[in-house]
């Protein structure tokens, strides 16, 4: 029973997701299934971002970098055996002339993303939190410039087509569940707790012997791996890879999802992605046009983005901690109240008293 209670925050997220996916699989149209699969992949990415940003309190605008690196890496390994020597002639010979099996390709791609996250983290995590936020943006720009000009290897800004498409809704669900578990295990681990302590109060955490640098670097690396997984899923879901997909628009979407759901808890990430995916899909359909009685109506193209930005601003102004308010879903009939929630609240109060300058 205790173990059930401890794992409740994870189960409370995974079980409903699985239920929804089962329903869609049984009764939904192909269109709905596609949209849901995409939402699940976004969830994987959002959780990757959450592992770093949610636990450390430093927003990263650069995680698309790791996504792109993994997506391209898997494309190099698995895509278009015939065309590769012509279109991507600059690849090393053993990659150019061979096609690798899907699973090893996926794993090495995720590994590459993680390694890049670790190496860039070695530098970026030395910076203060605001400078680090800005510098993650630089990381994305560096990658974008390189990949859209490195024509012999990445085909520049053209799209790589013809990747094997194997990501079904169930695979996406499996990966989402896996990363939810990873994120949860991380955040209740020693290193996760230390990082959360630095989020609440850098100075007090340092005074208690927490290394800002290492605790952040570990989270950054782990989130790089997860973002890499999302990249591989994107690539093998769309069947195409294009650098334009891994830039500001997509970053904004995911950051908005996290902020709206509540960036400081895993439940917030899941709720945010679900909620915004539904909202976006509704407005996308409304932009195409719908009929009320005998009238054909549609809202102007582009209002979807306006509304997304509007919701995000309203949430930031009126409910800064997002829909979930930074809380996990807890076992409601718990006998033992260890007071962690109240404790965190007090730290925040004290801190905000300091902040009002």
């Amino acid at each position: 029973m205790r173990i059930f209670e401890r794992l409740f925050p994870v189960l409370a997220l995974v079980v409903p997701l699985a239920g929804v996916v089962w329903t869609i699989d049984q009764f939904g149209s192909a269109g709905v299934e596609r949209v849901s699969t995409e939402a699940l992949i976004r969830l994987v990415f959002a959780i990757g971002l959450y592992i770093f940003a949610g636990n450390s309190g430093i927003v990263s605008f650069g995680h698309m970098t790791f996504c792109a690196i993994a997506a391209y890496a898997t494309a190099w390994q698995t895509c278009c055996a015939m065309l590769k020597p012509i279109t991507m002639s600059g690849l090393p010979a053993f990659i150019r002339d061979n096609t690798f099996p899907l699973l090893p390709a996926a794993l090495t791609s995720i590994g590459l993303a993680g390694v890049v996250a670790f190496t860039s983290g070695l530098i970026l995590m030395r910076l203060s939190s605001l400078s680090a936020s800005i510098s993650t943006l630089a990381l994305m720009f560096i990658l974008n410039v390189i990949y859209s000009n490195w024509t012999t290897v990445t085909m520049g800004s053209s799209t790589i087509v013809g990747l094997p498409v194997y990501v079904t809704i169930w695979i996406a669900l499996g990966c989402a569940a896996l990363v939810i578990v990873i994120a949860y295990l991380y955040q209740v681990s020693r290193w996760g707790l230390m990082l959360r302590a630095t989020r609440e109060d850098e100075v007090a955490a340092q005074a208690s012997g927490t290394s800002l640098y290492w605790s952040r670097l570990i989270a950054f690396t782990l989130s790089g791996f997860v973002a890499g997984l999302a990249g591989v899923l994107f690539a093998h879901f769309m069947g195409t890879v294009s650098i334009a997909n891994f830039f500001l628009n997509h970053t904004f979407l995911i950051v908005a999802m996290l902020v709206i759901g509540g960036m400081q808890s895993l439940a917030g990430a899941v709720v945010g992605v679900t909620f915004i995916s539904v909202v976006i899909e509704l407005f996308r359909r409304a932009e195409v046009g719908f009929s009320v009685g005998s009238m054909q109506m549609s809202i102007p193209a582009g209002s979807q983005e306006l509304i997304l930005a509007g919701i995000m601003l309203l949430i930031l102004i009126f409910r800064k901690a997002g829909i979930m308010g930074g809380k996990e879903l807890r076992w409601p009939w718990s006998v033992r109240d260890d007071g962690t929630v109240a404790g965190v609240g007090q730290v925040r109060l004290a801190r905000s008293a300091n902040c009002h300058r």
Partner: protein, 304 residues
């Protein structure tokens, strides 16, 4: 040697531009700890206000058709009003929150404005020509300098001097610097919070308007992303200069501008497309040596 001097002039011109954007960002950061992403969209909106909102690729002029003095006035005014509106609607309710929340909110404002422009103007780039007479080269002491570079450099240096005089000599300028130094102390000494913040935004709007015109004269195109690159460079300028320091922002602006022009001029031909990546990498390496930036201020670390 002549080539070097021409490159140097280009570098100073671009550096001055980035310094101006960085100063706009630095001022707003100073008074409310907000790193304003929406600065990019102030530039874009300024440029787009030249033409009538249509989806056409070569649209007819709106402000762009006016006599030049009136055109500059209208563009600068509309960007300034926009900057003040964003402050009032989006940033004022968030004034007492932490810098990270403010950063995210400015990201949202930026996305909102960008979508608004796409809605009215369409997402494709447009061509527009103003100040065609300015593009022919000028001879100065035997050096041929592009008219646009010369104009950019003159305007940017002039603005920079005016701004420095304003900040150093006028009462409101001193209040601004005091607020950037220590906001609560400045308030205790009688600086009106709403007024200095509004003025900081107004300045960032004015600079945004002027810079957008300089960019349009230079490139002759309108693009919804046109403000992003200068703004991101300016972010870096403030970060390497030392976040929260106004002289640091200017210094950082010159560093990124000069780096970028020199890499463009002296990198081998096939490496030139990677110029921006090179600049960012060098910037990150500077940060590796000085994580707090070149000029460290009290704003860099939160007081306990």
């Amino acid at each position: 040697m002549a080539y070097f001097i021409q490159v140097l002039i280009d570098a100073v011109a671009l550096g001055s531009l980035y310094a101006l954007v960085a100063l706009a960002i630095g001022l707003v950061f100073g008074v409310m700890k907000l790193i304003n992403f929406a600065q990019a969209d102030y530039l874009t909106v300024g440029a787009y206000s030249l033409v009538i909102p249509t989806a056409a690729a070569t649209p007819s002029m709106m402000f762009g058709g006016l006599p030049w003095a009136l055109m500059i006035f209208c563009v600068v005014l509309s960007v300034t009003v926009l900057a003040l509106i964003t402050e009032r609607v989006a940033f004022r309710p968030l004034r007492n929150t932490d810098p990270t929340t403010l950063l995210i909110s400015s990201f949202a404002v930026s996305y909102f404005l960008q979508s608004l422009i796409i809605m009215f103007h369409g997402g494709r780039p447009k061509s527009v020509s103003i100040g065609a007479a300015l593009t022919r080269p000028i001879d100065i002491f035997g050096l041929r300098v592009g008219g646009v570079q010369f104009l950019t450099m003159t305007v940017a240096l002039l603005l920079l001097i005016v701004l420095v005089l304003f900040l150093k000599r006028t009462s409101i300028g001193i209040q601004l610097r005091a607020a950037a130094e220590d906001f609560s102390m400045a308030r205790l000494l009688g600086v009106a919070a709403n007024r200095v913040i509004a003025i900081a935004f107004a300045i960032s709007g004015i600079l945004g308007g002027v810079i957008s015109l300089l960019f349009v004269i230079q490139t002759g195109t309108l693009d919804i992303r046109m403000g992003i690159m200068p703004t991101v460079y300016a972010f870096f300028a403030t970060v390497i200069g030392g976040i929260g320091s106004l002289p640091g922002a200017v210094l950082g602006g010159y560093i990124v501008g000069i780096l970028s022009v020199f890499l463009q001029a002296y990198l081998p031909e096939e490496m030139r497309p990677f110029r921006d990546a090179g600049v960012f990498t060098i910037v990150i390496l500077i940060l590796l040596v000085r994580p707090q930036g070149l000029i460290v201020t009290s704003a860099a670390k939160e007081r306990v």
